[in-house]
Amino acid sequence: MGEIAPLACGRDAAVVWDRAEAGLPLDAHGRDCPHCSAAYAEARQLDVAVHRMAEEPVQMPAQAVEAVLGRVLETARSRIRPEEALRLDSPLGPNRLARAAAATALRALVDAMDGMRARSCRIAQPGPDTAIDVALTVVARLGLDLAYATAQVRRTVFAAGEQALGLPVRRVDIEVVDLWEA
């Protein structure tokens, strides 16, 4: 995992996130520290959101279902070329994940974050294993703490790679290419 900037109080943000993810309460410093408390609360919100997404039933209008099925059929007919797919591990033989679909999913997760929008997402799978490298360009709201926000993006991508795609994330590069005024 890449380096994460420490919180303003000097504490490693990842330590606070790990406690939140594990469902552990903040320690004595964290309870009195506004930076730790805020990071903890955000991590809890993110964790709740990820689990809620996994548990929510999909309710889509029939037209949307037909549109999806149509695109699946089109893909099945046209066949995804090997260079357009990411390898998925399986004991029954390798499976594949369309690179464009994975990128769209990661972009959507970034777009759901407060003050951040993904502009592009490139995913590489350079090694013999299934680990991926992700390169994102994003735009951010003016006034946002960029170091903290990009650390959140990085954390989200690492989590989504493993939990949603089933691919370990080895590296995440983020470039903030523009800012917008709220």
Binding site: M60, L88, N95, L97, A164
Partner: protein, 86 residues
């Protein structure tokens, strides 16, 4: 009593494979096609389910169903073509 030969057409095998794939939790849509002894299954998965695990579950489900219903032993390859956002 004479012998009986059962032949299951490729299109029927593909339909069985696609139906088996659709029964796997997390799969929103599925299509299947045959290429020799390889069954290619293309699926869409809802975002939030683990693509690797869903693809493997489809492989197992399709392999089992084809063996049971069509008497076919086939290699199954799954492609997740789309993640369905909500």
């Amino acid at each position: 009593m004479g012998g009986v030969t059962l032949h299951v057409a490729d299109a029927a095998v593909a339909s069985v494979a696609a139906a088996a794939a659709r029964r796997v939790p997390g799969v929103v849509g599925a299509r299947a096609a045959l290429a020799a002894e390889l069954v290619r299954v293309t699926i869409s998965v809802r975002l939030g389910d683990n693509c690797r695990d869903v693809a493997e579950a489809v492989q197992r489900g399709v392999t089992h169903t084809l063996a049971e219903l069509a008497g076919r032993t086939a290699l199954v390859e799954v492609t997740v073509a789309e993640l369905v956002l909500r």
